[in-house]
Amino acid sequence: MKVIYTDVLIIGGGLAGLRVATGIKERGHDAVVLSLVPPKRSHSAAAQGGMQASLANCKMGEGDNEDVHFSDTIKGSDWGADQEVARMFVHCAPKAIRELAHWGVPWSRVHRGDHAAIINAEKVTITEKDEAHGLITARDFGGTKKWRTCYTSDGTGHSMLFAMDNKAKQEKVEVHERLEAISLIHENGRCYGAVARNLMSGELVAYVSKATTVATGGYGRIYSVSTNAIICQGIGQAIALETGVATLGNMEAIQFHPTAIVPVGILTTEGCRGDGGLLLDKDGYRFMPDYEPDKKELASRDVVSRRMTEHMRKGKGVKSRYGDHLWLDITILGREHIEKNLREVKEICENFLGIDPAVDWIPVRPTQHYSMGGIRTKYTGESQTLKGLYSCGEAACWDMHGFNRLGGNSVSETVVSGMLVSEYISDYLDSDESHLSIHTANVEKFVRIEQEKLDALLSKENGEDAYVLRRAMEEIMMNKVGIFRNGDDLQKAVDELEELHKRSKNIEVFRSKSRAANPALVNAYRTQKMIKVALTVAYGALLRTESRGAHSREDYPERDDANWLKRTITSWPDENQSIPTVSYEEIDISKMELPPGFRGYGKDLTKHHPDTKKREDVVNAIKEKLEEEGGDRFEVQNCLMPYIDKLPKKYRGTNERLGENV
């Protein structure tokens, strides 16, 4: 048996995983990153539009700060987010972007003087300040009060990932490529690493570590159409679930992005609408102002996706052989703007649709895009129930997104959480608690179990075809656990998935029997895992009888704070059970800086919690008192919800902005 020992095993080589690894190395510990693909090919590279950080450099970002970013994020989450975590995040986002600038990301910069922009379908002139010249600029994104989304054209994720991977190389981070973690090694509530399979040779390797971090991204590929890369299959969440000890949070919180191209589901960035693009129906009519007169195309993603779906249900969609769609019109931005700031969009339109977006409208419809749910962690990134297991980025439910993530907050979360979690892990490694005490015989047992499972898949006769089960799962998720949900369909989805789960125990790898590089074998074991993840999503959605953020129940259209201001916690304690175990974690209103309120979209249907009013009164009294005493915004914030002590010391400093704290 091959065993590799390291301080920290990091599963996943995208932005979050690489940032954790870099932080760990800087603190003098050892780290190994496992990656399915060369890290620079990770799905982080596909983030186009940008990274939110409240730098307030550009004219339309003036007045922005942590408070505004915080309030946007919490409203966006429909009050599902952990407010302390969101505070930690908004405080550190400017630091993370400045760090990335230092490491080589060529962020687009402010140019002094006049430039043209399109706002609400009209051409306007914006004048940038002299003193902002050369600082990082930002664009508008949905659900934000200020222009806060920093970018490099529409290749932001690419530039960030390349800079991050290069930095990791400089720090001599060891990356084991084409290695897939297929189970976590754990004993007595403590995680000790993972069993990984080499995707080229088929060899199983035990990685034994003091801390293990899952940074494998989302689980979008449980749906038949998703903007996600094909490797975003939720295997990280699945192996955590399969420990029976670690828990997952809010798995039913799935985001649909308004503008993926039809039929292939490739994303066109929110930057298209942020920069002034419009949504049009089959008559070329701009319909969003009718539904959301205030934010129009730039309402939060969940809202726009629902409005588009509603509009298509009214018969206003464009018919195509792949179903109805709507149009995204960016022609009004002009060729020059598109070729400079929306280049990937232009390439995608040319290569996949054969159209020129400077002249033609783009066929789009809402498509699965982001997983708010994931491995439930404390603010330190550590699992609440399995010691030594950490998670960050999209893989985790940290939980700063609640039930809907704002555009531009995902890549931002990857680097901020990576930066913070690497510090908490390093503190843990510096403590006596982190010492290893697992018998190698037990390590061997975990490897043997995996070997036996693989053998069974290869030797099975008259079994099930993994592809058939997987396609069935994808269709169930697509048709019954989509943008709008209802009890009947969700019940059917859970029943059907449960049946698929049972059948998946009987999968046979047909024809291709190689133990080495074998895509059929990979598909077989991943399908088993994906069905479990799909069950956590569908079951959580069935039980949550309210509508919150991206989770929208036609039979329960109101947000029900009185009964549902809580996180869904899912686990799978007994491998013989056929549906997951669900419990709930209350969200405490009495600790909130921003008590639950109305997001400002459509009609307010909220059923309020009795504590909301009490907390509002407390918050208002504190604000009034401190403002009278001349307290600044930091003092007010600290009084409402202190969080700064939770941050690693090196990241507690106040952020500079033009005209503030300089």
């Binding site: 693909v37 060369p38 620079k40 090919r41 990770s42 799905h43 590279a45 596909a46 730098l55 400017p94 630091k95 400045r98 760090e99 230092h102 080589g104 060529p106 687009s108 910069r109 402010v110 140019h111 010249h133 050369g134 990082i136 600029t137 490099t152 054209s153 290749g155 690419h158 530039s159 290069n166 930095k167 190389k169 400089q170 490529e177 084409r178 080229m200 040779s201 088929g202 094909i230 039929p263 292939v264 490739i266 994303l267 052989r321 990937e344 995608i348 996949f352 592809y467 047909f510 024809r511 291709s512 190689s514 080495a516 590089a517 074998n518 895509p519 598909n523 400093g653 106040t654 500079e656």
Partner: protein, 245 residues
């Protein structure tokens, strides 16, 4: 328009070989697939895997032309398979793995290992000997046009097409290819990288670097990101020559 025409049947010939199987040897295998509207080679290959041969090896990740995983020879020319529409090709399509890289099997090659070696060799990161960054302070300023110019070169996805299309790389396995030269051009442009022209000369001022290029410029022809490789190689040469004087 295409709706009234009967769909074409595509003949997809693939160069197959499993280096892990001692009994296997490189051979061509042909599959027949009914063409559909908007079909790409990503769809074709997945269909073959799902319905004809589940052992067929190939690499896709983003399937959107962004990540650079799926480079292969399509009718002999290096390109990204995911964004290649079959409608732009003849009925008979030949696919082969990208040459010059270690073969994992069939159409899957180990470009990641090659690129990792290249990045380590050229130290493709910002070299800054200054003291530690204070993350609370305003970021260092940069001219907007310069940031755009750096981004232009930063768009390389390390797909390996330029190496596969390079005459020199066929003869000299140490040649760093346009991908390497472009990276040096990118860092040389970046004021945050404090390396001097002498330092860059040490890295690329030899036959494995900028003086190995025979100016055939296959790299520029096949680069899926349309990087200005020709002008950057020429620029580096002038810079290196100037440096020797």
């Amino acid at each position: 328009m295409s709706e009234c025409k009967a769909p074409r049947f595509l003949k997809i010939s693939i160069l197959r070989f499993d280096p892990h199987d001692p009994e296997d040897f490189p051979h061509m295998e042909t599959f027949e697939i009914e063409e559909s509207d908007g079909m790409t080679l990503y769809i074709v290959l997945n269909e073959i895997r799902e319905h004809h041969d589940n052992a067929l090896k190939f690499d896709f990740v983003c399937r959107a032309g962004i990540c650079g995983s799926c480079s292969m020879l399509v009718n002999g020319r290096p390109t990204l398979a995911c964004r290649t529409l079959t409608s732009k090709l003849d009925e008979h399509i030949t696919l082969a793995p990208l040459p010059l890289f270690e073969l994992i099997g069939d159409l899957s090659v180990y470009t990641g290992k090659w690129m990792r070696g290249l990045n380590a060799r050229l130290e493709t990161w910002i070299h800054d000997k200054e003291e530690e960054l204070n993350v609370n302070k305003l970021e260092e300023r940069m001219e907007p046009a310069l940031a755009d110019e750096i981004y232009e070169l930063d768009r390389c996805v390390e797909c390996g097409c330029c190496v596969a299309g390079c005459g020199t790389a066929q003869m000299n396995s140490y040649f760093m290819g346009a991908v390497g030269l472009n990276k040096i051009a990118r860092y040389q442009l970046d004021p945050r990288d404090k390396r001097t022209d002498d330092d860059y000369y040490e890295l690329v001022g030899n036959e494995d670097g900028v003086f190995g290029c025979m100016t055939l410029l296959g790299c520029e022809d096949v680069c899926p990101k349309d990087l200005p490789l020709q002008s950057k190689i020429a620029y580096l040469r002038r810079m290196m020559l100037k440096n020797t004087l």
